[in-house]
């Protein structure tokens, strides 16, 4: 069973439907025990990080998420879920994240007005390392993004793929060990997104360090 973590941060229907389309058993849950016992955990989310962190604490899920990430459970962050697993975000003043991967979340500051914030639409990702979730996905494949803030891991080793937007190159896929996290929405990214989700569902989360390309 795949646990899709529900902490009141947005609509989880599309994530569930994409996993069901891949014939995976998935449940939307905010029950710490269900999350701890799941074979794999998907941690999505959209919206503002301040209220999301408050909800996570209220539901008693901060430790749960840290624990499953530390326990080796294959873990997939999506969008806001990806930002939350870093140390800190500039959004809402300054908000502490879960600190699962060292790094910060910054806001796009475009120089040209044509670069609108949020970034909304399809943009290419360029893998920086080999990783099982990229299997069968060509370099520079486009995925669907909706975000005003972007992840900046402290160690370049934790950046699995990068994307360019508004004069910035940011980590569009980050991760270490059993944790992988995408700033884009694989569940909205067509066949490429489904392929990435399927790769995640087949990944044992084993500690295979990325190989520099």
């Amino acid at each position: 069973m795949i646990a899709i973590v529900d902490y009141g941060a947005g609509n989880l229907t599309s994530v569930r439907l994409a996993l069901e389309h891949l014939r995976m058993q998935a449940c939307i849950t905010s029950d710490p025990n269900a999350i701890r016992s799941a074979e794999r955990v998907v941690f999505p989310g959209v919206g503002a990080i301040g209220s999301a962190m408050k909800n996570l604490s209220k539901l008693g899920l901060c430790e749960t998420i840290r624990d499953v990430a530390a326990a080796g459970t294959p873990f997939l962050g999506i969008c806001l879920g990806t930002q939350i697993i870093l140390d800190r975000s500039e959004e809402d003043g300054s908000v502490a994240g879960l600190g699962i991967i060292p790094g910060a979340v910054r806001r796009f500051r475009p120089v040209f007005p044509a670069d609108k914030v949020p970034q909304m639409g399809w943009n290419a990702i360029v893998p920086q390392k080999k990783h099982p979730v990229f299997d069968g996905i060509p370099d520079s494949t486009a995925f669907y993004f909706v975000h005003s803030y972007y992840p900046m891991p402290m160690c370049s080793d934790d950046v699995l793929a990068v994307t360019d937007y508004a004069g910035t190159t940011f980590g569009s896929v980050i991760g270490r060990d059993n944790v992988v996290a995408t700033q884009f929405h694989p569940e909205r990214s067509g066949e490429a997104g489904l392929k990435l989700l399927l790769n995640f569902c087949r990944w044992d989360g084993g500690n295979k360090p990325g190989v520099a390309r």
């Binding site: 229907t13 439907l17 609108k116 399809w122 067509g190």
Partner: protein, 259 residues
Amino acid sequence: MLLKRIIPCLDIRDRRVTKGVRFQNNVVMGDPVELAAKYYSDGCDELVFYDITASAERRPIDINMVREVAKTVFIPFAVGGGIAGMNDMSEVLLAGAEKVSVNSLAVKNPAIIAEGARAFGSQCIVLGMDPIRVDDRKAFPSGYEVTVRGFRERTGLDALEWAKRAEQMGCGEIVVNSVDADGTRAGYEIGLTRMIAENVGIPVVASGGAGCPQHIAEAFTDGMADAAVIAGMIHTGEYTIRGIKEDLIAAGVPIRKTW
């Protein structure tokens, strides 16, 4: 680089996709879920569904169709037509739509844009507007007046003022559907699209009038649109999404390749 989006528009009437000229003489084009699946596999970047009779008939949108689409396509799609309030928005989004498009409702009750943006996020709230060209520049400085209910009613709103106001209230994207160009397949109303795009900081989608790939390229370059809605040119089978995308890539437009 952010890619330009190609968005097939499916106008739904009695659960069938139809296409008319300026909302008249509608011809049935097929089943919405089947057409959505076809355009998805052919590489469209997003889809939009308008229940074109729901708003005029003051009845809710077909939620079962939204659910079926959500199980079939794994790209963003927007749903509009007959959205009567927050409950309808919530229902459509929970059924799996990425965005909800408000048009008549927003004119009647502009606060719904802010409420929707607060509850679901700006990226979920699309303003659909149907401007018509007018001569009275005193009343309508932009030269366009917003219409509603499938162009049946005038609103007295200036198109550009309305777009700016919607942005201020938290709308995440504006679909500019030219009444004059709709269904003509003679090209988008580029001046209108560009005027809106130059004056708001949110994505602008050109709509109405696409007849060939060159029109779409113009919407992106001269029209400064972030995305383009197409309908008749693909519903009739005259063009395919992939064919259109190949032409646009050849013309140097940044486009998502799915082949």
